[in-house]
């Protein structure tokens, strides 16, 4: 029985190579006669979305052809792009869900800055536009369909506790959370995200901003979150857990740390989360509302999570096609389409009136709240050290939340580590 498969081995290997090289040859010859074809990689679009966008683009630009590939989810995206850049096999365009990867891509020397090349940049919301620039150059273009964070609250729990309206400030939220906590029903008032993950930083930053704090100094060289505002912001969370108004257990599940599952299980009555909770199906009888992100002592805030498109150097013709593609993604219709796929926010006013956007509130009732708070939103710094700084930050925040250090100690340590990271890579 074995001997036959011994010969089969070489047959399979040979035919595999024949198939492989034939496919390559056919693909190569197809490119020569057809319009300029370029590839782009995305970690955020499903295959049907890619197909829709590609055909719309090809129709609008007959000389170009877009071929998108869903590569991997965002955690695996970076190793792949890194390896591609290092070996000169990169795609022409990447759609990246982490804007702070852009300075890192720039280090490869193969990122083509978009300064002045994308007119739609000027109609972006100012804070978003600013976040695309690094050392004076625009590294990427914001993709429509960004997300922000709002406050979800369980209406039934509120009614039972006799609270008429959702809290508007963190002070009120703390008071309400204490009232809403019911140990017998295994329910807490609010969920404070626990764990070592980017979400924790992302969710905490607007608390910091709401209290008037900043993440980094204006030059982006030193940490600034260990200020009094920072300590106040972190203490809000620490006290929620200390007062047992928030669970001391982490409800992290499969890499998601936002606590949406805790809210949907009614383990907590309130949670700050993104729009995805809103369009998830809920059982009949589960009634919830969406309110703006709680304001701090300085005012309201939220955090804007942005996806960006970036242009890499391939061939001159492909780069031209890629640039046209990036511009195409910002046209009102396409931008609206992309935003509507994930219930994201349109990133410029001319998309708001598009039918795709107008249809969203019907499916996600809280959509308008998310839209209304965008103007208060901050954006994470675009900085190649952000990954390290964020990791330092969320590790220490988690330590403070679990009670091993005080809030001020945690932030001081995090600032020290962040300064070291920032100094190292410049």
């Amino acid at each position: 029985m074995y001997r036959r498969s011994n010969k089969k081995l070489s047959a399979v290997a040979v035919s595999a190579m024949v198939v492989g090289s034939t496919v390559a040859a056919v693909a190569g010859s197809a490119n020569a006669a057809a319009p300029v074809t370029f590839t782009y990689w995305t970690s955020g679009w499903g295959t049907s979305e890619i197909a829709a966008i590609d055909s719309a683009f090809d129709a609008a630009h007959p000389g170009y052809k877009a071929e998108g590939s869903f590569i991997a989810k965002s955690d695996e995206f970076l190793p792949k792009v890194t390896a591609a850049l290092k070996t000169n096999t990169q795609p022409t365009v990447v759609i990246d869900q982490q804007p702070y990867d852009l300075p890192f891509y720039q280090e490869s020397g193969k990122l083509i800055p978009l300064t002045g090349k994308v007119p739609a940049t000027n109609s972006l919301y100012p804070l978003i536009r600013k976040s695309l620039f690094y050392k004076g150059q625009q590294l990427g273009m914001a993709l429509s369909g960004f997300g922000d964070i709002a406050l979800y609250y369980n209406k039934a729990d509120f009614a039972a506790a006799g609270i008429a309206a959702p809290p508007t400030t963190w002070k009120q939220l703390t008071a309400d959370a204490i009232k809403l906590t019911d140990p017998a029903a295994k329910r807490w008032g609010f969920y404070v995200p626990l764990g070592d993950a980017e979400w924790i930083s992302y969710d905490w930053e607007p608390v910091l901003w709401g209290d008037g704090g900043q993440l980094l100094n204006s030059a982006g060289t030193k940490a600034a979150f260990d200020s009094a505002a920072g300590v106040a912001a972190l203490s809000t969370w620490v006290n929620l857990i200390k007062d047992k108004a928030a669970p001391s257990a982490s409800f992290a599940s499969n890499g998601s740390y936002d606590g949406g599952n805790a809210f949907e299980s009614n383990a907590v009555a309130m949670v700050t989360d993104g729009i995805w909770v809103d369009f998830a199906t809920v059982p009949k009888g589960f009634s919830y509302g969406v309110a703006p992100f709680p304001a701090g002592s300085s005012g309201p805030s939220t955090n804007i999570g942005l996806a960006v498109s970036a242009l890499f150097q391939t061939t001159a013709a492909q780069d031209q096609a890629g640039l046209a593609f990036i511009n195409f993604l910002s046209t009102p219709k396409e931008g609206a389409y992309i935003a509507s796929q994930d219930f994201g926010e349109p990133d410029s006013p001319d998309q708001v009136s598009q039918p795709a956007i107008r249809a969203l509130p019907a499916k996600a009732p809280g959509y308008n709240v998310f839209t209304n708070i965008v103007k208060y939103g901050g954006v994470r710094p675009i900085n190649s050290d952000w990954g390290a700084v964020s990791a330092d930050l969320y590790t220490e925040i988690n330590d403070a939340l679990t009670g091993s250090v005080t809030a001020s100690q945690a932030l001081a340590t995090a600032a020290q580590e962040a300064d070291a990271s920032l100094a190292k890579n410049g």
Binding site: F104, G109, K186, G195, A252, S253, A388, T402, N425
Partner: protein, 329 residues
């Protein structure tokens, strides 16, 4: 895993064991050089041709990249740096002082417990499956299944099973038995426990397969003789089966140890290395440093450290515990 050579079943019991093999090898040594030349044509290059596919491909796709990595680890500068500055072993000391030591410690603790429990359960189940009771063959298949299912799916389930007090199945079960419940994601030791149990559940099927195959090849006559002499099942195991399994045990131990040292995927999905590095294994540290924090020097250095540690451990395992196996190398 080694089936007995055909024909030795009828030979006297002295055939089972290492002595016979050693003698055969000596004979082989003499006759290969002598006989090979005089009887059939044996191109001098033949052995090299035989081992070429495996060795050349290993060298090209594992060792050569490792060499490139080791070379880069002596320099500072990111992945894309055009000019690299030589820093000697600086990256290594940095890696060890910036979380690397903790990662190695976590890896050591994890691997030791992992190996002991995985091999223990694997052997126990294999022994049970080896018994000739009717219908036992239908009970073999399930143990392969955890090896087969993609970790992405099973890790999600695992995380849900270990959800906080009052919610997750494990906690609800503990509560039902009156035992204290725990928060598996937030407590360092419990998080490690969660990751460990997942690893053991996922991998022990491999030990079951390998041990079962090994058990099936043990000479029955020795064991039956012992049974006739009045030795109970435990004594038969301890004095006959276990010593005979020694060579396979070393192999299985090496495989399991390497699997433990290279734990990564479930850490990523279950805990992301937290809380506060309590479940950061060496490989997770490497990934985190390389692709999240962009500290390529540290990642490279740790990669080399992990490799060297794996090599040393393997040599020790084979040398110390596989005294018989070593003679064959």
């Amino acid at each position: 895993m080694v089936p007995g050579p055909p024909g030795t079943r009828s030979a006297p019991p002295a055939n089972a064991g290492r002595a016979q093999t050693g003698r055969a090898r000596l004979i082989r040594r003499r006759t290969t050089n002598g006989r090979g030349r005089s009887v059939g044509p044996r191109p001098l290059a033949l052995p090299y041709l035989f081992i070429a596919p495996a060795v050349v491909l290993t060298a090209t796709f594992s060792l050569l990249p490792l060499g490139m990595l080791a070379w880069r680890s002596l320099f500072a500068g990111g992945v894309f740096a055009k000019s690299l500055s030589y820093v000697g072993l600086q990256n290594y000391s940095d890696a060890l002082s910036q979380g690397g030591t903790q990662a190695l410690r976590v890896t050591a603790i994890y691997t030791v417990i992992f190996v002991v429990l995985t091999m223990g359960f694997g052997l126990a189940i294999a022994l049970l499956l080896n018994v000739n009771v009717p219908g036992v063959q239908y009970l073999r298949a399930p143990f392969i299944i955890p090896l087969v299912v993609p970790p992405v799916a099973t890790a999600l389930i695992w995380g849900n099973l270990f959800a906080p007090s009052g919610f997750g199945f494990v906690n609800r079960a503990l509560g039902a038995f009156g035992l204290p419940q725990g928060n598996f994601s937030s407590s360092p030791s419990l998080a490690l426990l969660m990751v460990l149990t997942f690893g053991i559940w996922q991998f022990f099927g491999e030990c079951v397969i390998l041990y079962l195959a090994a058990l099936k090849t043990l000479p029955l006559d020795l064991i039956e003789a012992a049974a006739v002499d009045g030795a109970g099942p435990w004594r038969r195991f301890r004095h006959i089966r276990w010593p005979l399994l020694r060579r396979q045990t070393v192999l299985i131990c090496v495989i399991t140890t390497l699997a433990g040292l290279q734990t990564f995927t479930q850490i990523f999905i279950l805990t992301n290395g937290g809380p506060n590095g309590a479940t950061t294994t060496a490989l997770f540290y490497i990934f985190n440093q390389g692709f999240v924090q962009f500290n390529t020097g540290l990642a490279d250095a740790m990669g080399v450290i992990l490799f060297v540690a794996s090599l040393v451990i393997t040599v020790v395992l084979v040398g110390f515990f596989g005294r018989g196996a070593r003679r064959d190398v």
